[in-house]
């Protein structure tokens, strides 16, 4: 008979990594730090130097943002930066558009994705940033209220859609179709609200509003031109494929800056009209050349069996394109498309450089020409950069969600 050692029968022996995980957080952190940050003399030195540099940067940024900077150049010029020459008595049109777009974002998220913790955090932070800006000047209270209503609509739309059953049914199809229809119609609706029935003249679209109008027009218009272009390039008919290839190579071969000069000097005689419309045409034509190549790449990535199978079940060329090939190709090409969208979003600043149109960055230049604010140009440019980043981040985030819900990269 062997004596059993005095052992706690309750004690369960865990594998080493679980055992480590049982220890208090602080102990674990210390151990992690020792292993990763202070593992050797060189490592320790590197850690200290990096920490010092980081601390300096953080100190510099914090000092600039909270002490050094004169943010009045932004808050006082809120209207100039965002709407510029847009008629002030038509402000409700801007707010209506904001609310409509926010509601649409909510509906879209509720239909195809869900808001994660990080999304909520971002909405709260971005809203705080927006309200900080809005809470100055004459109509501050109303602006804040309109903005909060817009955020409320975002959540309302989301709350309604997320409660709908997601399994395939006629209701689900109807839900998806109506939200998709709204998405397609969104841009024309916003443009009508802003411009038609006594609204602004096209030239009065200015500041941030102009960026927000130009980029979607460029992206949507680009996509519309790009699909036939990509199919045309892949066509077996020489004349068509050559024409499309020439278009792509010519347009892609010159910088956007140059094409904007074309809008100013040559399109004037070809299509005439408002300069802003010519700028939109150029942005769409330019974006299309890139997007066509992304779609062509996606078309080539599709196994040939897909269209052969479509033909085998009796679909004609058009049906096979519409039902089998294009949906898959567009899905594959989403990541580069979003990259192009973000790129064109930032390129909208170029219209101020070449054309006499004033977008956000151009109006920031005007704000620092006010005598009182001439020393505050860094503040103005930092603000513009942050605004551009916020929108680009939203685009990137939404695309990640769309990719996730379409299962890209998981097959």
């Amino acid at each position: 008979m062997v004596d059993m050692p005095a052992q706690n029968p309750q004690r369960i022996v865990l594998p080493p990594h679980r055992e480590r995980a049982r220890r208090p957080r602080i102990v674990r952190f210390r151990e992690w730090a020792r292993r990763n940050l202070f593992n050797s003399r060189a490592g320790t030195a590197l850690t200290i130097i990096t920490a010092a540099i980081l601390a300096l940067i953080v100190y510099g940024v914090v000092y600039f943002v909270f002490v050094d900077a004169n943010w009045r150049v932004i808050t006082e010029n809120r209207w100039l930066l965002f709407a510029g020459g847009y008629p002030m008595d038509q402000e409700w049109r801007l707010w209506f558009s904001v609310m409509f777009v926010f509601l649409l974002i909510g509906l879209t998220y509720g239909t195809w994705a869900s808001l994660g913790r990080r999304d909520h955090l971002f909405i709260v932070l971005a809203s705080g940033f927006a309200i900080l800006l809005l809470a100055h000047g004459g109509a501050a209270i109303w602006s804040t209220i309109w903005y909060l209503i817009a955020v409320g609509l975002l959540y309302a739309g989301y709350a309604i859609m997320i409660r709908m059953p997601r399994d395939a049914s006629r209701g689900r199809t109807l839900q998806q179709r109506s939200v998709a229809g709204l998405l397609v119609a969104a841009l024309p609706i916003v443009l009508i609200v802003l411009l038609a029935f006594g609204g602004a003249r096209p030239r009065e679209l200015e500041g941030f509003v102009l960026n927000l109008v130009l980029a979607p027009v460029g992206i949507a218009g680009g996509l519309i031109i790009a699909i036939p272009l990509a199919l045309g390039r892949a066509s077996r008919m020489r004349a068509i494929s050559w024409t499309c290839t020439t278009y792509i190579e010519v347009v892609r071969g010159a910088p956007l800056l140059g094409w904007l000069f074309v809008a100013l000097f040559i399109l004037d005689d070809v299509i005439g009209g408002e300069l802003i419309v010519r700028a939109m045409v150029v942005l769409a034509v330019f974006t299309a050349a890139y997007m066509a190549e992304y779609i062509r790449g996606a078309l080539q990535a599709l196994p040939h069996g897909q269209s052969e199978a479509a033909h085998a079940v009796g679909l004609n060329q058009f049906q096979s394109m519409q039902l089998i090939v294009m949906p898959q190709a567009l899905r594959i090409s989403i990541p580069p498309m979003v990259g192009q969208a973000i790129s064109i979003w930032k390129d909208t600043t170029l219209v101020t450089v070449i054309l006499p149109l004033r977008e956000l960055k151009g109006n920031a230049d005007s704000a620092i020409a006010q005598f009182e604010f001439t020393p505050d140009r860094i503040e103005a440019y930092v603000f513009v950069a942050v605004v551009f980043w916020v929108v680009a981040f939203i685009m990137s985030r939404i695309s990640q969600r769309v990719e996730g819900s379409l299962g890209i990269g998981e097959r």
């Binding site: 006082e76 010029n77 809120r78 209207w79 100039l80 709407a83 510029g84 020459g85 847009y86 002030m88 000047g137 030239r203 200015e206 500041g207 020489r238 004349a239 050559w242 020439t246 100013l264 000097f265 040559i266 004037d268 005689d269 300069l275 101020t352 450089v353 070449i354 006499p356 149109l357 004033r358 151009g362 109006n363 230049d365 005007s366 704000a367 620092i368 020409a369 006010q370 005598f371 009182e372 001439t374 020393p375 140009r377």
Partner: protein
Amino acid sequence: MRKLRFGLLAAAVVAIVALVAVACGDDDGDGGGEGRGNTVQTIKDRGELKCGVKQTQPLFGFREADGTVVGFDIEFCKALAAAVLKDHTKVEYIDASDASTRFELLNEEEIDVLIRTTTITASRDRELGVDFAQTTFYTGQGFAVRTDSGIDSTSDMGDAIICVQTGTTTEQNVADHFTDIGLEYDPQGGLSQDVADAFFSGRCDVLTADASDLASRIAVRDDAGDYKILPQIISKEPLAPGVRDYDSEWKDVVNWVVHGLIRAEEIGITKANVAQMAADPPNTEVARLLGVPFQGGEVAALGFDSVDPQFIQRAIAAVGNYGEIYDRTIGDNIPRACTLNDLVINNSGCPDGQGGIQYALPYR
């Protein structure tokens, strides 16, 4: 067979490209050469004046927080709109902030008149299809230094780093000047805002630009006393409104509106008293300038047939005389007394060698 088709296709492409190029080339030349323009009629038909202005220049053309375009140059747009369209608010301000495309905007008829601190030079007048009206603001290129720098003239700038705005007449002026005085110098170029920043943060010793520009940039600073502008001026920079070549009808209107505003200051017509002066003109000259009959006589039209005789009166009623425009928009930021922009008739009290050159031509 294939080769033939390829060749045909290539030929077709070349033909199309050539056609397009020719078609575009037709309209591309210097927009001024298309025969006589009639901008006054265009403006009247449109019901709006398209004024090409700067929107990023302190004092001269910039924007208020509510988006309105304001400044010294802007007042002349309003005066022209009042003169031609009888309403000084009927102006569409088109952004011509970018120095490199401003003359193209004029030639492409995107704007009717260019009023954005543009210097008259012979080459611009001849080569760019632009015609200049009367100068609205005289300035010259000057140098700003720190008070304690020990630099008193350009001959002390041998070791100095000189900041200069690129792509403008200033850059060429400074190069010419240092060639003339036989001195090597160290120029640093950039955008006007950037070079000013570099100067005030100590990265260059000298900032050169239009003296008015330097004065306005220094005046706004808390440490304005640490800087001084050298009395030396190395160039002439008369800033004037520009119109398209071959359109003397419109050029004359622009020209005489500017002269009229200066004349109004010379003889004491102001925004406040212009209506009363027009109702009861004290002499024939005031009556002629304001386009009203003197003691029951005839109204002198002076051959301006595209605008009615009261066009200068309306311009004064809208923005006041030249002095009022100056005081309202530039004011003390660039002192006026005894500088080039003062009236010649005020020169009697000025120190020797100083005084204004603003002088209106006779309106009769």
